[in-house]
Subunit: 377 residues, 2 copies
């Protein structure tokens, strides 16, 4: 560990209070006791009867051990999906406030980062985003997070209060988040209709590899189309899994919008402009993917209305909105190896992006996260 | 026009016989007469009551006029979605054979390309891929196409004979296609469940910009997972819309497979290897997208089992599997301008990919297509 810490912005937890809720349930999401230990069933029709779950999901010492093993200095910890999505408005409201307090304590009572003023653990809180909730209750949670010294943002799924994130009813929520300077970590859970995956048993591969990124892509495209980024230009949204497929489909999205005058007239800029306002985790497992995302971020300035910028995208500039993440405790190693392959691959990918110098790589590994979350060593 | 022709591999037609079928139908897909002219409804719940349809869909003179306007020397014309998917096995079988004859005639009686031995129009035929069809009937159509001098491949949706393209029942079809040396143009139609798009009226934007590429991505990933490329290593598949989201999600796909030993054990290579066996149209509307796809193609050799290849992807090498396309007659201009914006954008994108020299750009504009389809000027 050094004073240029490796910072993990995509790392999950089921706090003990949350795990207890899951254990009390008889339908997914639930934690079940089996002979081989506890298993987590996130969706009812999940293949292979879910996945093993254990202390790496709730025990802070396990999180720190994982961080030490991979040289991670600081982590921004968030509740894993499906968050509070399955609860009644009343339960979601209560549990959001309790879990935000729990997470603040998880961070504040944890260790410091070396001799600095920083902690090793910071948190991204939860909002009670469920149907039937009042907007006031959601804004209450935003303000609670904003007031908690170690919570620097919040994690959010794609359903909003039932109609998705392009629901104008959420405008006061975006406004409160923007005013508080909190970062939104947008994360998938539902994927797409499982009929898409066919009859073959491919385990979790297709819903995880494709369904998750499709969901994030769709949610972000709908946010763009709804004008949220025009109405709340200082909103800072970090996309899971490097934005899914959005970067690669963004010119097609722009072209389709361009061919529909009604839709086009609602937006201030070409769709590709808005990708430069987003942040992308670097959880894409390949250097070519990361290099490409940095190009898409950088080229966004060509697409601001009235822009006269031309020329090639600058991968160095674009890298500033990209941030290392691990997706811990998901994708554990199959055998007890020293390090997790999923983590090593993401670190190797960052280290070998053509066009990124040491300063860009250091930024993606940690500096960009500290800037985004307003921390100074 | 020159002896290095611009070649369009993604250009559609509804032949007169097909358009008549659509006019005879009362449910989608159908062509309806309205006061403002005929309209095409491809899916029953399509927004805006479908889209205008006219001679540009069936009139060969219109196709040639479009080609002349954009300097396109040679086009590989294919029936637009939804092909024969909506027909009974008997009707699909009959119509496939008739339409393949029609398309051969459409090409063979058309003009020559300059003074060369080449024609300006070649075709990609149809297979009767519907539930209840016999495999023999499909193979009959493959052989018919193979025997038609101006048909150089076939276009295919993602449903197969009802269970998708990863259905082992299709193995004799792949075998026949591979043996005949025909190119498969894999094209989307269904997208994903429309619940994903939410309540807002965004016209066709989301199903076209995202749903189409999601479908192609899913179908190709399922093909990879089914081992089709291991069993039929000489199969040549051209992906519509630059492979959708597959390039950007391919390392994630590989990682998810890697974490599932059962699925991983079925494949000879890392998932990324198979992307180097595919061909990609250059219909992605941006130079960054095209450059990225060429990297993903090139890096595939690093992922062959046992490979010791290292180092950066070579965009020049990867460009050889990429081919210009227009998607005509879709995405027409909103006003009668000289050229179609959708076409101009794709040409500009090819012209400005960093890392591609003139020879690579010429290849993508035409040379690669002539090689793929075995034509020599």
């Amino acid at each position: 560990m050094s004073l240029r810490p490796l910072v993990d912005v995509h790392t999950h937890v089921y706090l003990p209070r949350y795990a207890s809720w899951l254990r009390s349930r008889s339908v997914a999401p639930k934690i079940m006791s089996t002979e081989g230990g506890e298993r987590l069933l996130i969706l009812e029709n999940e293949p292979s009867g879910g996945r093993p779950v254990g202390p790496q999901y709730w025990d802070r010492q396990e999180k720190l051990r994982f961080m030490d093993l991979h040289g991670i200095g600081i982590s921004f910890v968030s509740t894993a999906n499906p968050w509070l999505d399955f609860l009644s408005a009343k339960d979601a409201h209560e549990l959001a406030l309790e879990l935000n307090n729990d997470l603040e304590e998880y961070c504040s009572t944890g260790p410091s980062y070396l001799d600095s003023v920083l902690k090793r653990l910071y948190g991204l809180g939860l909002l009670p985003l469920v149907p039937g909730i009042t907007i006031d209750a959601i804004v209450e949670a935003v303000n609670q997070i904003a007031a908690a010294p170690h919570l620097k943002g919040l994690i959010m799924g794609t359903k909003g209060i039932g109609k998705g994130l392009d629901d104008e009813a959420l405008d006061p929520v975006w406004q409160a988040i923007e005013a508080a300077g909190l970062v939104v970590f947008l994360h998938p859970h539902y994927g797409v209709d499982s009929n898409a995956w066919g009859d073959k048993d491919n385990g979790h591969v297709l819903p995880l590899a494709l369904g998750f990124p499709f969901e994030t892509t769709t949610a972000t495209a709908r946010l763009i189309l709804s004008g949220v980024f025009d109405r709340f230009p200082s909103l800072r949204i970090l996309l899971a899994h490097s934005g899914g497929a959005l970067p690669q489909l963004s010119s097609r999205l722009a072209s389709c919008i361009d061919h529909d005058p009604v839709v086009a007239s609602r937006l201030k800029h070409d769709a590709r402009f808005y990708l430069g306002k987003l942040y992308f985790d670097a959880v894409a497992y390949g250097p070519e993917e990361l290099g490409f995302v940095s190009e898409v971020v950088s080229r966004s300035k060509r697409f601001e209305a009235g822009s006269t910028v031309q020329g090639e995208a600058d991968r160095r500039e674009g890298s500033r909105r990209m941030l290392f993440g691990t997706d811990h405790p998901f994708f554990p190693p199959l055998t007890s190896t020293e390090k997790w392959k999923s983590v090593v691959e993401n670190l190797e990918a960052i280290a070998s992006v053509p066009g990124w110098g040491t300063s860009e790589k250091d930024g993606v590994r940690g500096g960009n996260a500290l800037s985004l979350f307003g921390l100074h060593i």
